[in-house]
């Protein structure tokens, strides 16, 4: 391994799986609770009107939930960066390409 990039990866990946600190079941439950609370808040926006802040608020909550599931339940926090890279590549590519796509259709201005 001579590129520095691969070297660091090797370093972190060669530790055996079992050595990683897996979150405890309790931790998982806490995370699920957090997700449940955010979901409740999301649903609440349907009943309680919060005006123009609605869409930004919903988006933030969505991204937070997404992030939590990916980081904890999908173990990206603890796993190799390579996995994160592929997932992030897919997400970033999808978001940017389809953002342009919708822009060309004048989606944001005409709704």
């Amino acid at each position: 391994m001579s590129t520095s990039e691969t070297r660091t990866e090797d370093h972190e990946d060669h530790e055996d799986h079992e050595d990683h600190e897996h979150p405890s079941d309790q931790k998982y439950m806490q995370i699920a609770l957090l997700l449940a609370v955010i979901t409740a808040a999301e649903v609440a926006t349907y009943f309680v009107h919060i005006g123009p802040a609605l869409i930004p608020t919903l988006m933030v909550m969505m991204v937070v939930k997404f992030f939590i599931v990916a980081a904890w339940f999908m173990h990206l926090r603890f796993d190799s960066k390579m996995f994160t890279r592929f997932f992030v590549a897919g997400i970033v590519l999808a978001v940017s390409v389809y953002f342009i796509f919708l822009t060309v259709f004048e989606f944001w201005t005409k709704g």
Partner: protein, 193 residues
């Protein structure tokens, strides 16, 4: 993992992540198509007329919790606890099935209320997007059931945690997609007719 690979990562897990990266563009295209057509409801019902937010909230919650049970299943197997592994796998599959049941109910209600697959560009896009997601969930259920079967044949032991982990990745991904769908398709204020 058994094999020494250049990166130290297992082939199977890496392949699953590459696949999930690919899936982002699949669902991205379906969601964008839906967004493009959400107010093209022609003569049929509009999304704002027909979505039942409380109902969908419950089924979204069910799917979200199935992610919890899936990690618990993995965690049990990592500890060599076969019994709890089976229990949580079964729970996950059941929660998935409840979600699918909810979707079937939702679809039939919509059809009864006049929103068929061919009613409008909106309806086609809606059913296609949520249908694709539903098919993904169903495949996940089939995979989890297959895990359970091999567990009862004595083949799912601590050695196979990685298999469970990989199927779990798929399962969480499907959940994450629904997190987006729930917000973008259901919760964002929808046009009414």
């Amino acid at each position: 993992m058994s094999e020494e690979t250049t990166t130290g990562l297992s082939h199977n897990k890496l392949a699953m992540w590459v696949f999930l990266g690919s899936e982002c563009l699949l669902f991205g295209a379906l969601i964008s198509t839906y967004l493009l057509y959400r107010n093209k409801f022609y003569d049929g019902p509009a999304p704002g007329d027909i979505f039942d937010i409380p109902f969908t909230s419950v089924s979204s919650f069910v799917l979200l919790m199935s992610s919890l049970t899936m990690v618990l299943a993995l965690s049990a197997l990592q500890k060599g606890d076969i019994r709890n592994n089976r229990l949580w796998l079964l729970t996950t599959a059941l929660l998935g099935a409840v979600f699918i049941g909810g979707q079937v109910y939702e679809f039939t209600t919509f059809i009864r209320e006049g929103l068929g697959y061919t009613t409008s560009p909106f309806s086609s896009a809606f059913f296609t997007l949520t249908g694709f997601h539903g098919v993904h969930v169903s495949l996940g259920i089939v995979m989890i059931m297959s895990l359970l079967i091999s567990s009862y044949r004595g083949k799912l032991t601590k050695k196979n945690t990685e298999t469970v982990e990989i199927i779990g990745l798929y399962w969480h991904f499907v959940d994450v997609v629904w997190i987006i769908i729930f917000t973008v398709i259901y919760l964002v204020p929808n046009p009414t007719s």
